[in-house]
Amino acid sequence: MTAGVTAMAGSPRSNAVPSSRREAWARQFRQGVRRAMRNPSTLAGALIVGLLVVTAVTAPLLATHDPMAQDLGARLRPPSAVHWFGTDQLGRDIYSRLLYGSQPTLMIVALVIALAAPFGVAVGLIAGYFGGWAETLLMRVTDIVMAFPRLILALALVAVLKPGLINAIIAIAVTAWPPYARLARAETLALRHSEFVEAARGLGMPSSKIITGQILPLCLSSVSIRATLDMAGIILTAAGLGFLGLGAQPPMAEWGAMIAAGRDHIFDAWWVAAVPGLAILAVSLGFNLLGDGLRDVLDPKHHD
């Protein structure tokens, strides 16, 4: 009997009323994390993305060789105790290059999202809120950009701008914003006639403030889900540009370019192309899994 009472008193975690707002918030956050982590695929996604970030930051510490150092006497060595993932056609250590290659990958993803998402969302908010000719104009432009195959448009842009990492980022960002515009417009259309927007207007709030203060905060969760799911596609596009020699320029270690270099030796030295290829696969998968998991946590309509 005593044991039963103790057990009840000892498990206040799930049912007790939170004593402060901060505690309630922290508990909700923990619950969200727990809900996300209960799903093994989300957990796997988070681990892969986390590993990518850690790798990018600590690459100089983890690397066993200088990623640029050539050793022509040790070309195309298979994986061994010295070179864990073998060496490429110039005798560079693939393991070290793989670690350093996570840096441009992460940079491309972060910068493309930072450029494309705010721009797309701004276009969508303006189109959705004002309607009329502004909407027609903006959304038709969005449709036109969207109608281009993404990689082809990025290719053309890089070709015009001259190959390089920064130009690749710009090119991908230019092709990546339309989905955000559509998403933000759809959300805005649903919200612009809602009563609280009407009430805000009734208080004398100017349109600019209604858009940024009332509508934007409600778009953010779906935009961040979209962004996470988008990252996989961005990595693939970036790798594609790198493969074609239009992204990061040699001797910089970049996964797409590393695959391109391994292409000539694919039958006699498979590891040169396979290792960065697997890295791209794993990271894209990680972002997709994480995005799916985030949607389950952030989107109330998806709860079970």
Binding site: A200, G204, P217
Partner: protein, 284 residues
């Protein structure tokens, strides 16, 4: 002796007409609405679609295109509303006229704290410091009968009940002390007991602060209890204007019809009469 200059009425509207485009030309939704009011309580009643809400919205300039508002005269405390720029409208809204909407569940932004939403009005219209804004917001929350203003100030709309939410909404409208309050069915979404409380609160605040109130509703007896004057609208037209105390003596057939439709203790077990409409009412 110098004749004192007459104080302009708070709101003076004449010949207000709102039209919307339809297949057969422009369809009038409000026709030739006229109202001159001081700091008193006006009730506007009528069935759904009779133009009550649109009338209220046109006073705030919130009729969206393609709706078109025209008026021979529309003045608010001496300001001519017919020739206002968008900026002029924004200065009027919230500062001079506040509007309370039907359902607090939808009229408060779900992702912003109550305090922030109340302060928004002050931020828009008065240049006062953060601390002062907070003080005024808490004070107004207290004035609308919230015992625990600190908690509500920090709460999100979903953490409040319907009645609390509507009080918060009223606080947001009152905080910059407007002269005229328009309440568009402020209690329809609330249950009966809370409805009574909110109405009494509204009544108290309006009398205490000397505001003008336009209360829109389809609940005729409720309006009769709280307002000084009642305007009955039918098909976009005011068919009758009576003092609330003389509602029982109303003589327009539509008003009588509305009154007769209400169930009473004495009519228990009998069929209630239904409105038989008369095309002549629209011309009246």
């Amino acid at each position: 002796m110098i004749e004192p200059t007459p104080i302009p009425p708070l709101l003076d509207v004449e010949g207000l007409t709102v039209t919307f485009p339809a297949a057969e030309g422009r369809l009038p939704v409000v026709r030739d609405f006229a109202l001159t009011m001081g700091r008193e309580k006006i009730g506007i009643v009528g069935e759904s679609g009779s133009g009550k809400s649109i009338t209220a919205r046109s006073i705030l300039g919130l009729v969206r295109p393609p709706g078109q508002v025209t008026a021979r005269r529309m003045q608010l405390g001496g300001t001519d509303l017919t020739s206002l720029t968008p900026k002029g409208w924004r200065d009027i809204r919230g500062k001079q006229v506040g509007m309370i909407l039907q359902d607090p569940k939808f009229s408060l932004n779900p992702v912003k704290r109550i305090g922030g939403q109340i302060e928004e009005t002050l931020r828009l219209h008065d240049s006062i410091g953060r601390r002062e804004r907070r003080r005024r917001a808490l004070e107004t929350l207290h004035a609308v009968g919230i015992d625990d203003p600190e908690r509500v100030y920090r709460a999100f709309p979903h953490e409040l009940s319907g009645g609390m939410g509507q009080r918060a909404m009223i606080a947001a409208m009152l905080v910059s002390s407007p002269d005229l309050l328009i309440a568009d069915e402020p209690t329809s979404a609330l249950d009966v007991i809370v409805r009574e409380q909110v109405l009494r609160l509204l009544d108290h605040l309006v009398s205490q602060r000397g505001l003008g109130l336009i209360l829109i509703s389809h609940d005729l007896p409720m309006v009769a209890r709280f307002c000084d004057r009642i305007l009955v609208m039918y098909h976009g037209r005011v068919v009758e204007q009576v003092r609330a105390s003389e509602l029982h003596a109303a003589n327009h057939p539509y008003t009588r019809g509305l009154l007769d439709c209400l169930p009473k203790a004495g009519s228990r077990g009998c069929m209630l009469p239904t409105l038989s409409r008369d095309a002549a009412w629209e011309q009246a």
